[in-house]
Symmetry: C2
Subunit: 276 residues, 2 copies
């Protein structure tokens, strides 16, 4: 999905919600345990209940890998269940030397070899350009580069100042030499809302993937105040607040209710910004 | 495997060689394609031919993930084939917020859930302490943190200077507050031999995992000149120069010959340093 198509979906659905599919077996509703693959069933019902309210799904690979081969199968089958009109994000936070990153690109972008092909993948920038560029060789695929993350550990290195820029600012500035806003997005945590104004100056055209709304405490309004651009430019992720809205038979229905609240708030925000 | 046991293995085998198992289907000998899992067969024969000459094996997960579910199965089966006396490294370069890194730790350290349990995992430091600490909760398991990598992209961010330290130096200094040299190692590329003296001052007791000898052009002697410490303190990785030493029926034999050359050079180095 390219940038124009993504903005079109945002306008169609009046939403820039991304739903994080990060399921843990002992947290999903007990009645699903009777299924052959309870987590797949959980994901499928969540997707069926929410896909008209969100523009993206973001499974975090850790939650699948933790269950070994079986978990990887669940990830593939989950990918197969995504509707064609959603933007799909492999939240994998990979990154390695060039020839190895090329293999990761096969893993997440090449349906022939890996049986799945996400629209995008999250990448850690520590290893620099040749760790990122192999992903950009795949047409219409995106790199979502970690910039300023939502966790406490973001303060350890990401905000270190050198040459008048913090490390995460250098990541945003330097990586713009590697790809345009048609193939690159940045991860900026919602818990850092005060930084959005400045980040928008550094990357006015880019989409930002924003985790941390919901369970991690970030505010949607605060993020949008400075984060919106002329094509929306935001994908706001919520995971736990939606997928664990209920642990009963009604989990998908309750997930939809939570997603709807966010979609409605997003619709108001998009209208106020004349983006609909 | 703990630090003393690792040094014991180094002394037993007179080697600090780590072999990188990074197989690509179209590069392995053609006669293996008749097997149900050609890459597993390739790995098994390599392991059988070299395990007395090396102290560690390091499969890079990208090469397995690129083949989807089947690849993940190969990784698990390869892990099962490792002899008990080798140190095993999941070269996965993971790292995420705390609760997610905990899932990655399950994926690579918890045999019950993931059917494999490596001794160690490589981690990207960009997301800071809480992205690393969940791995350290597993007793006798190791984090191998990226410090100064062997690729050209290492110059993009790792050498940025702030507070009188380069980023990779800050990674080494700061992370020593998170774990001792009994649970933490650092990745330092062999292509940066001139930096080893300085790195040894920052981390005198730590093991360093050193990729880049062989195909990437790093020199073993240059690395050892400053890199050795009183417990050896080095695991030197070679991958392509060993595993692709021949593409014929004799590939395992030729791999052994390449590994033997490195082991013999290492034995001389260890003797000269009075470590045997």
């Amino acid at each position: 999905m390219n940038k124009e198509q993504l903005f079109e979906q945002i306008q169609n659905k009046k939403s820039f919600l991304c739903i994080g599919l990060d399921p843990v077996l002992n947290k999903i509703p007990k009645h699903l345990l009777k299924y052959n693959d309870p987590i797949l069933e959980f994901n499928k019902q969540l997707i069926d209940a929410t896909h008209d309210l969100c523009v993206a799904y973001k499974p975090n690979t850790a939650f699948y890998e933790s269950r070994g081969v079986k978990g990887w199968e669940t990830l593939v089958e989950t990918w197969k269940h995504f509707p064609k009109d959603v933007f799909t994000i492999a939240d994998a936070k990979r990154g390695d030397i060039g020839n190895t990153s090329a293999m990761y690109a096969e893993a997440f972008f090449n349906e022939e070899s890996a049986a799945m092909s996400f629209d995008s993948i999250t990448i850690a920038p520590y290893m620099g350009e040749d760790s990122v560029s192999p992903f950009l060789n795949h047409p219409n695929k995106w790199v979502i580069l970690l910039a300023l993350t939502s966790n406490s550990g973001s303060q350890d290195f990401q905000v270190k100042q050198s040459d008048d820029q913090k490390l995460y600012e250098q990541v945003i500035t330097t990586s713009q030499k590697w790809a345009t806003s048609d193939q690159m997005m940045y991860v900026v945590g919602a818990t850092k809302a005060e930084e959005f104004q400045h980040i928008r100056q550094l990357a006015p055209e880019h989409f930002l993937l924003v985790p941390g709304v919901g369970a991690q405490g970030g505010s949607l309004r605060a993020v949008c105040q400075y984060g919106l651009n002329s094509q929306c430019g935001l994908l706001v992720n919520a995971a736990r607040s939606i997928i664990y809205a209920s642990d009963g038979l009604d989990f998908a229905e309750k997930a939809r209710e939570e997603a709807l609240l966010l979609q409605q708030e997003m619709e108001q925000i998009l209208k106020a910004a004349n983006l609909l």
